[in-house]
Amino acid sequence: MSRGKQLVKDKSIVVPGEVVAEGKDFILGPGVRREGNQIVASRVGLIHFEGKLIKLIALSGRYIPRRDDVIIGRIKEILINGWLVDTESAYPAMLNVRDAVTEYVAKGSDLTRFFDFNDYIVCKIINVTPQMLVDVTTKGPGLKKLIGGRIIKVNPNKVPRIIGKKGSMLNMIKQATGCNIIVGQNGVIWIKSTDPKMELIAVNTIKTIEEESHVPGLTEKIHAYLEKETGKKIKLQKE
């Protein structure tokens, strides 16, 4: 078999329809498609060549539900045997009673005693069908109803940046502001604190990360920002 040929530089921006490589010996990751002998980008993004693997990291677009994602959803409808959850995407998720509570619930009984309209919940996507029917559960560590606090929404493509490598960025914000923060993969973030001032600092920090996600050395910059705003010394985690 002939050796594949890479046609664009690693870590370059590609647009839909751009031929990124030629040859049959590549493994395709997300965002790229094979057409005959050519490998074509199917959306705007940052291309990564990792050995034989080609993957495209999306930089824009709405959230698309994926299995095993932990998201923050809003109860938008109550059905006969569960809830319909708004996921900030084109597809609402179904939360079945048996995926939500351990006790026996008689069919047709009032479900608002568990989750009411407009309650926010942390849930995990257990299944996504090809028709984009989404099932979520609230059974599991850290999955629960959110009480109090505030909700902010960010671009879901920036979520990995807000969390940081192994949670480094998020831990730094939590440590500096003392806030309780939960980040959903769908770009919904819940922040709760007893100190409204710290809550505001956390919100501003997250907004800054969202806007400046591309800046090299962002962790140091955010570290300096947090120290200045909170007036506390914060330990900088080594990655």
Binding site: V15, G17, E18, S42, S60, R62, I64, A90
Partner: protein, 242 residues
């Protein structure tokens, strides 16, 4: 009957008007673009994929693309345009939809809709082409899964002379005029829009389409550059996944 014809703005026959393209101009939209060709300006804003109602419009096999073409009241050279959908605007919305659909992988968005809004604040012919070109950039900006970009241009004949990118004064020229708006997918080498106004022979049409291809490749290059300019800064971003 080939009579000599001098273009009112002094362009060469196969020369297009100066183009400005920018991506990410509407902050509340999921994707947006501004495309200016000469005096024609088109804004496109994309929302979605989002849930589709009324429910009977939903299709579990593939998503839906909806386009709205709108000329603003003060946009034209002549009389004020009455706001709201007219017969003409509805037709152009439809052909825009048909021109863009083959470039998009709608099977990725079952039961959902992608809405495209095209607004024209200033026009000097070639509005549907400018709209389609802007919409293709906006769709890419919105992260929609696409097979290819779409570039569009009008070509035509004035007194038997093949010209590219007609302006209003050429469309309304008192002579024999044929106007052919074309949308083209450059990598797939396929046309997705072909309309015609006027009289041309089949050889003339072939020649016109060859010119349209050539010009669309120039426009596509500008589209790609505009998209890359918008995302260039993310090049330095480190990989956080995996």
């Amino acid at each position: 009957m080939k009579k000599s014809f001098k273009r009112p703005d002094g362009r060469a026959y196969d020369e297009i008007r100066p183009i400005k393209a920018e991506v990410g101009v509407v902050s509340r939209a999921d994707g947006s673009a501004r495309f200016q060709i000469g005096k024609t300006v088109a804004y496109a804003a994309v929302y979605g994929p989002r849930s589709l109602y009324p429910k009977f419009l939903q299709n579990p096999k593939h998503g839906l693309l909806r386009c709205y073409y709108n000329m603003l009241p003060f946009s034209s050279k002549g009389e004020r345009i009455r706001p709201g959908p007219s017969r003409r605007a509805m037709e152009i919305s439809l052909v825009t939809e048909k021109a863009l659909t083959p470039a998009i992988d709608l099977t990725k968005y079952p039961n959902a809709v992608v809405d495209v809004f095209i607004e024209l604040p200033q026009t000097d012919a070639g509005t549907r082409c400018a709209g389609i070109t802007a919409a293709a950039m906006a769709l890419a900006d919105a992260g929609i899964v696409m097979y290819d970009l779409v570039s569009a241009v009008a070509v035509g004949y004035v007194n038997g002379n093949l010209i590219a990118d007609l302006i209003y004064d050429e469309e309304a020229y008192p002579g024999e005029v044929a106007d052919i708006p074309v949308a083209y997918m450059p990598r797939r080498d396929k046309f997705s829009l072909l309309q015609m106004d006027g009289k041309v022979s089949s050889e003339q049409l072939q020649k016109a389409l060859e010119l349209a291809k050539k010009v669309c490749l120039q426009i596509c290059d500008i589209q790609r550059k505009a998209l890359k300019r918008r995302y260039e800064k993310y090049k330095l971003m480190e990989n956080m996944e995996g």
